[in-house]
Amino acid sequence: MISKKVNSVQEALSGITDDMIIMLGGFGLCGIPENSINHLVKMGVKNLTCISNNAGVDDFGLGLLLQKKQIKKMISSYVGENEEFERQMLSGELEVELIPQGTLAERCKAAQGGFPAFFTPAGYGTEVADGKETREFNGKMYVLETAFDADFAIVKAWKGDEAGNLIFRGTARNFNPCMCGAAKITIAEVEEMVPLGGLDPDCIHIPGIFVQRIFQGERYEKRIEQRTVRPAKTAL
């Protein structure tokens, strides 16, 4: 077994420097690598290009990096719910590239799987297709999209082992598995490190081969963006 375990977020994130392209898992605030993001703030690395479906909120997630102006460019599908983001974007301080969500996921998968490019229907006839090759297959039009090329992928899983095997929980899965192995180095932070053999080989979502470093996050806030509930059940 090849051990990927590192003992701290410091060690996990070593090698990340200014101007790099970083993929980060998560959908909204769900399944984001909280501990790594907090540490990127501490490291103070600048001019980052972040590939992430969303950009966090003002005081959580990628919003923390935005506040410190560490991000040069965001590549996302949806960036609402963030005032500082809006300010930086409108003032031109922040570059933003918006990509259809399915295309974002697949450009990660393409990088993970060694496909340089694929045709997708998403965005045909819209400004997303501007400057891209389009082609008809069986009477329908498609756009050629290419694999991402990132330096680091930082993902968050529920459980992991030292072989780098990962299991995700609920919709905190989202983009995380797609980003594993989609960058030169993949860092996974997990809520719980389990002993080797503690994960059922049939239930592993991401085999360790896609992960270079794994560590247990110190603390998870797991903030909820939209708390929607029904009235509590009452005893009969």
Partner: protein, 219 residues
Amino acid sequence: MPLDKIGIAKRIAKEVKDGYYVNLGIGIPTLVANYVPTEINVEFQSENGILGMGPFPFEGEEDPDIINAGKQTITTLPGASFFDSALSFSMIRGKHVDLTILGAMEVSEEGDIANWKIPGKMVKGMGGAMDLVASAENIIVAMMHVNKAGESKLLKKCSLPLTGVKCVKKIVTELAVLEITPHGFKLLERAPGVSVEYIKSVTEGYLEVEGLIPEMEID
């Protein structure tokens, strides 16, 4: 009388057929789930990675790891599954989702839709909308017939940047149910008490009116 949002949701709920997998956009579409008759078997997919979505959790039972694409805390029903974003969009792109219901800023008489960007304003992004409209065979748009200035949002051509081309099948507004045909918007039903003439007056695109147009039945 024009419908309210709940009225629109109720009318769209009638389009949901037994055995459908349905993806609901944010806003009015989300409300549709509440009005699908219980005898209709339907499963709701949310593109962030869940199939078999249930209602909101009871207070105190919210799970931050279980949300829908609107980032709302939700629950799962028996038979539900979680999956990653790539497989989620394979469901969508691969036409496995039977019905997509989403909002729009504008729709053209050819079925083009614009719902993600207003030039000069803060753009939040298209999210999954471009994948959904480029793939779904059955797209129903829930929208207001006119904007706040009273101008038609059912146009000959969209003025806003497009989300997708020639993809919308049906539109339900506060005034009418319309279908996109090769000729343009075909009026199928009108809101109770709303005249065909009025609908015509607030529809900029070509409006096809054939025979008597029935009032919508809601409830």
